[in-house]
């Protein structure tokens, strides 16, 4: 079991996350039918509305239909500041999402806490859950959001999302243990 599988850090994961041609087919399907769970809290919500509005239409990318239950959604969009009091709610929503799942940190408050460095604003949502794509900007322009979505689609296609890597790692650990078992 020489594989060093301790982490899903993306640089290390790229080494062992080789993807077979067959595995790319379901990823292609997932890429174009993202159901977002808009975890909207703050001012970025206004920009999230503009992204969903007719002018900068997100429906062109198949990610328009917001699902307000984590069971039916696979993209968690953290829109706005995450405070310490909101932390447990965010972690519970993330845990209750179906695999494979991806997370976009929408805006600088969700990415690093922005200019709210104080006792109640959390310095970024990645203190609580692994985030796949960070969108800078306070609030980011709708074009940035669409660009981030395309970036996420490439990542989904290559199978390098955090949850995809973790699943692959668990499979490899399980298969390695079953080999040792025999």
């Amino acid at each position: 079991m020489g594989l060093e599988l301790s982490t899903t850090r993306l640089e290390d994961a790229a080494k062992w996350a080789k993807q077979s041609k067959l595995a790319r087919v379901p990823e292609w399907g997932r890429k174009f039918s993202l159901f977002t769970y808009p975890f909207v809290t703050a001012c970025c919500g206004m920009e999230f509305m503009s992204v969903a509005a007719p002018k900068y239409d997100i429906a062109r990318f198949g990610a328009e239909f917001p699902r307000f239950s984590p069971r039916q959604s696979d993209l968690l969009m953290i829109v706005g500041t995450i405070t310490e009091k909101q932390g447990p709610a965010l972690k519970r929503v993330y845990d209750q999402m179906a695999e494979p799942k991806w997370v976009i940190a929408f805006g600088v408050c969700a990415s690093t806490g922005g200019f709210y460095q104080n006792y109640h604003a959390m310095p970024g949502a990645d203190q609580v859950i692994p985030v796949d794509v960070y969108i800078p900007g306070c609030p980011p322009r709708p074009e940035q959001v669409l660009d981030a979505l395309m970036m996420l689609m490439d990542r989904i296609q290559d199978g390098r999302g955090h949850s995809q890597l973790r699943l692959k790692r668990d499979q490899m650990i399980a298969s390695a243990q079953s080999d040792d078992g025999q």
């Binding site: 310490e84 009091k85 932390g87 972690k91 104080n118 006792y119 203190q127 609580v128």
Partner: protein, 191 residues
């Protein structure tokens, strides 16, 4: 027109009003803690006053008060009261405003609650308690409103550091910040 309000108030409650002022044309009256409830109900019920609309309630923590260009005597010192709770009121009928201020010592920050006189102060007083630790006697349910119950301390006091976080939940596989823990640096980082 507004001086009339302060004059009427001092006339009605000569011993309750410590001092009055109208800097920047905001009528302010410093009231003793014991008389606050009586003054408040009078202000609301008296037809000439008719202060029926509450505006806000907050507290000022004077511990760091060193005004520039003022004699040292004005700086804060142990003998002076540390907190001042301010109630701003407004009359819809007469369109005049007043701000009641109550000075509280550091060791005993308590005063009678005005939540029954004006319902709006119910939440405002809970916020002041949550942020400054001012106890309001007679408040229906005085508990934290913004922060979570497990939070210790009163954040808006001047002696509470700005970035002292008390996290509820953190990720278990949190990537270690390489700057803070140089020995945990990954060999692929410094290549």
């Amino acid at each position: 027109m507004s001086q009339k309000v302060l004059a009427a108030l001092t006339a009605a409650f000569p011993d309750a009003v410590v001092r009055t002022g109208s800097a920047h044309d905001d009528e302010t009256a410093w009231i003793k803690r014991e008389e606050l409830l009586a003054v408040a109900t009078w202000l609301r019920d008296d037809p000439a006053m008719a202060f029926d609309a509450p505006v806000f309630c907050t507290c000022i923590d004077w511990i760091d008060w060193r005004p520039v260009g003022r004699p040292v005597s004005e700086h804060w010192s142990e003998t002076k009261p540390r907190f001042t709770v301010c109630y701003q009121l407004r009359s819809v009928a007469h369109k005049h405003r007043i701000r009641l201020e109550v000075e509280l010592p550091e060791h005993d920050p308590r005063l009678p609650s005005l939540a029954d006189v004006w319902p709006a102060f119910n939440w405002q007083e809970r916020e002041t308690f949550d942020m400054y630790g001012i106890r309001f006697d007679g408040h229906p349910d005085l508990r934290r409103i913004y922060l979570y119950e497990e939070f210790v301390g009163y954040p808006l006091r001047k002696d509470y550091p700005k970035e002292k976080r008390q996290p509820l939940v953190r990720r278990d596989d949190l990537p270690v910040n390489p700057l803070k823990a140089p020995h945990a640096r990954h060999e692929s980082d410094n290549k």
